[in-house]
Symmetry: C2
Subunit: 230 residues, 2 copies
Amino acid sequence: MSQDVSRPSLSDALTERLLDLIRSGGLRPGDRLPSARELSQRFAVTTPTLREALRRLEATGAVRMRHGSGIYVGSDLERVVIPNPNVGRLKGDQLRQLLDARMLIEPPLAALAARRADPVDLARLRAVLEAAGTYLDGRDAELHEANMAFHRAAARAAGNAVLDEVVDSLLSVHSSEQREILRIFDDRVRDYDEHQAILGAIEKGDEAAAEEMMRTHLADVKCVVEERLG
Amino acid sequence: MSQDVSRPSLSDALTERLLDLIRSGGLRPGDRLPSARELSQRFAVTTPTLREALRRLEATGAVRMRHGSGIYVGSDLERVVIPNPNVGRLKGDQLRQLLDARMLIEPPLAALAARRADPVDLARLRAVLEAAGTYLDGRDAELHEANMAFHRAAARAAGNAVLDEVVDSLLSVHSSEQREILRIFDDRVRDYDEHQAILGAIEKGDEAAAEEMMRTHLADVKCVVEERLG
């Protein structure tokens, strides 16, 4: 029966016990867990069983393992929603629906950002756009990252962590497809200008303008993607 | 070095190869994978390594293992967004933000449902509410499941799979908290009546009414939760 990988697993219970250890110990993302040797001893399990439980937690962002360094609490531990780490290349329809999802969620978040952004949020948005400005000379990979960071920072400024996670998940998943499409078809300067205009509306606290500009901007992105999917 | 659980793992590569096997084989959720024995042989890996990779894929819904039966493609394989399987008890603020997230997403989806729901969607919504009606006599666990199923069915009727996944993730995660809160504080009949009214608006194709009723309904739910957290 050693081949029966589906038997109810010690690692199921161990996963729960590791999560309890993190929570009851008040450990936060970035904090270090006891070593693998200590964990094996504490829970009286073999290394393969421990590995199984840790890999499971790693796959969902609850822990992070660094070769030669140790085991740390992951940044996604307390998230409500996470991107699917197994997602493959998105089909055309999925990409369209993903952009429609962004068009439903991000414009009202831009309005909330205009209402609630604090100085730290505004500084973050400005820094991200400033970086983007320096990449317009053709450093497309960096520009793409900076553009995605702008959308993340705008969502974050709205002050709802759950919606922030949703937007982050949507951006993470379609990043590679979008990068490729935008590399071929996008108007980099127009994107940059639209981001600047959105930031301007958020800075002025103009909720209606921020929402409308974000909507128009994402509609432009969708046009580019539709053109490509043709 | 056998204690070094963090070394770059064979199971990382194996996870990718298993996903490739599923995708290139055109396997769909529910389809059966080769047996563990065959997989171990095909990829020339030991059972612990295979287990590690499979548990990882299982944690994120890409495969499902049934004791004594085999390994199947999981229903979440192609999702963009998944609920965090490690999420603990939600804190009060998380619960508030989660309800705010639902209030931002579900009302426009109800409007879309009113515009686009097909006969299958409508039949599903009616069946779910009919079931809920039979649980009003005090079967609270069943009633709660039926109520969540109504929200899922309404999101699904909007026709955007990505937003459907987002709503499903939000409902999955706070289900236990919400169940407890509603058990103590909720007005079951009012909830049921509000769901009926939303369905009525969707059936009539009245987008504005469906959106507004869903918003009012979720605001009522939030009031109940606030009262409890208060």
